[in-house]
């Protein structure tokens, strides 16, 4: 840990700077003639944005890291399992079945719990079905996940097609989760869940270190590989469900930050990369959102990060040695 402390403190300072900039910069660049109470309410709202982004960033970074470890592949991310499609489908069905005024939809707590529960339920039944059937074929799982998300989004579009226009408008605004219209109330629900999940991931860090060596080696060294894989998949499902419900789908954030952390820290120790990639994810997300606000680009930060992450992925692929 000692030799990384410099890097960590640098990243930490950057993260704190990003926080402060995000919370206060708008005041200096915008119109300064506002009342005290308006100032306070904006600051508190932006503070909750930062917290939501932090929670989501940490969950995405850590779950992407462990996902890459159990798949033994640096180019994959758990977002490919189709959480966003399930999320939008849940919102659509809630409105379609119960209407826009029902508590299930309009109460943020119920809505958050129901959406997370559905996402977790679908991904877990998928895991147990596929991983039980074909031992440890995570690639099959991913492909099935992608196909099912196409399936779900087609069914969702069909339902939206036969909905009445008012309900459709509500669905569209509910499914465009973004940092601007984040639901601040559910943060208090998400924080304790995040702490528990990170604790569980952290507890497994030494297993993950061993699993980096590949399944054969890990099993030889006494790791119950399949059990750990399943266990990790469950944690990942929870983490991704919470992150998606909080700030919406960001496919490439995990891919980008975990790989950056690997390059910066040049280590295989998961405790180091967990912390490093979480910090990088926070910085990327908060700064990205800040830049977009300041430059008024009119593009959601999620799209921007997907673009950067995607370009980085192409670079990673291109750099690979032939038939590696």
């Amino acid at each position: 840990m000692q030799k990384f402390s410099k890097l960590f403190s640098l990243l930490f300072i950057m993260a704190v700077t990003a926080f402060i900039l995000y919370i206060f910069l708008w005041y200096f660049t915008g119109n300064q003639s506002i009342t005290q109470s308006a100032f306070q309410s904006i600051v508190s709202r932006r503070l909750s944005h930062v917290i939501a982004m932090t929670v989501a960033a940490i969950l995405i970074a850590v779950s992407s890291l462990s996902f890459q470890t159990i798949t033994n592949n640096r180019l994959l991310t758990p977002s490919m399992l189709g959480f966003d499609a399930v999320f939008i489908a849940t919102q659509t069905f809630l409105i379609f079945i119960f209407g826009t005024n029902s508590t299930f939809f309009s109460n943020p707590y119920y809505n958050f719990i129901i959406s997370s529960f559905v996402m977790i339920f679908i991904s877990l039944s998928l895991y147990s079905f596929i991983l039980k059937k074909n031992k440890n074929q995570i690639f099959v799982l991913l492909l099935v996940g992608l196909v099912i998300s196409t399936l779900i989004s087609s069914i969702t579009s069909f339902i939206q097609r036969i909905m009445n226009p008012d309900e459709l408008d509500t669905v569209i605004s509910a499914s465009m989760v973004s940092i601007g219209n984040i639901n601040t109330k559910i943060i208090y629900l998400a924080i304790p869940l995040m702490i528990i999940l990170i604790g569980l991931f952290y507890k497994n860090r030494r297993y993950y270190d061993t699993m980096t060596l590949g399944d054969d080696n890990a099993i030889n060294l006494g790791v119950d590989y399949h059990k750990k894989t399943k266990e990790t998949m469950i944690y990942i499902a929870f983490s991704m469900a919470i992150a998606t419900a909080l700030i919406g789908p960001i496919t490439f954030l995990g891919l980008l930050t975990v790989n950056l952390a690997r390059e910066i820290f040049k280590t295989y120790r998961h405790s180091v990369i967990m912390l490093g990639s979480s910090l990088i994810a926070i910085i990327t997300l908060v700064l990205g959102q800040l830049i977009i606000e300041q430059l008024k680009i009119g593009v959601p930060v999620t799209v921007l990060i997907n673009l950067i992450g995607g370009a980085y992925m192409i670079y990673l692929i291109w750099r690979m040695k032939p038939s590696d």
Binding site: L75, M80, N134, T150, L151, F252, P300
Partner: protein, 324 residues
Amino acid sequence: MKKLNYRRWLLVILFIAFFIMSIFIGVSKEMTIERLLSGDKRAWLILTESRWPRTMAIVLSASALSISGLIMQAISRNKYVSPSTSGTTDAAMLGILLSYLVLGSSSTLGRFIFAFIFAFISSFFFMKFISRLKHRDVIYIPLMGIMYGGILSAFATMIALSSDSMDLINQLTHGQFTTITKDNYYLLLIVIIPLVVAIFYANKFSLVSAGKDFAVNLGVNYNFVLTLGVLIVSLVSATTFITVGPLPFIGLIIPNIMSSLYGDNVGKTIIDVGLFGAVFVLINDIISRLIIYPSEISISLTMGIIGAFIFLILIFKGGRHAKV
């Protein structure tokens, strides 16, 4: 050989049956066989202006896409590669979007050229990438292809958002046969050229699918056939994308179903693949027209749902095969 003929005849009969059904299904009650026979002007007008172009568009695009899926699977030697799982479709979309921004909305030829160039460059890049990772898992390659397509469409979304053309993207990503009329289906006739070339070179493609060394030993100009394949696929993808839009899963499932019946010989199956693809899309189109009659849903939805189910079955069957 006899069995093959019997099956092919069955396909031809199915094809003719659904072709006729497709022509006579529609909102207008004036379009019946009796009226056509009695020389009713209005009935003939509907036939030549709308029904015939629509049905022909379905047949042409469906068979062309199925055959290009077959070719792509042969040259990449992977059962799960198709224009929609290798970024080709997304590249075509990006090209169309750029042509709108550069050339304005009027020029169909410009759109076609842009879509074609983008699809070609992108498929070529993807083929190069595949050849770099020969010894990977079969499912890994389509996964990478879908991710790569995701990057391209994130890029397209970004451009669309910053240039206020998000409507265009929404319109482009929904396959429609509704808008096909006598005036715009002529562009689809372009696909006849690559189709003829594909059938002419079918045997070469099946030699290439047996491996580079094998094909070169038998005197095949490997790189030429590979480039030709990519050329055919990009031409078909660009043309169909402009006229009808994306038809999900077709290039993937049709060749797979056919090869489970007839084996992997491209030369023997290419005609059946084209016919079966046409039958499949005709059925899907009839369903989309009837399900909320008199209005209709996008063919992308119907095919997204039905295709996803079939593809899931194929994946699980494939998994069982591989185990034995």
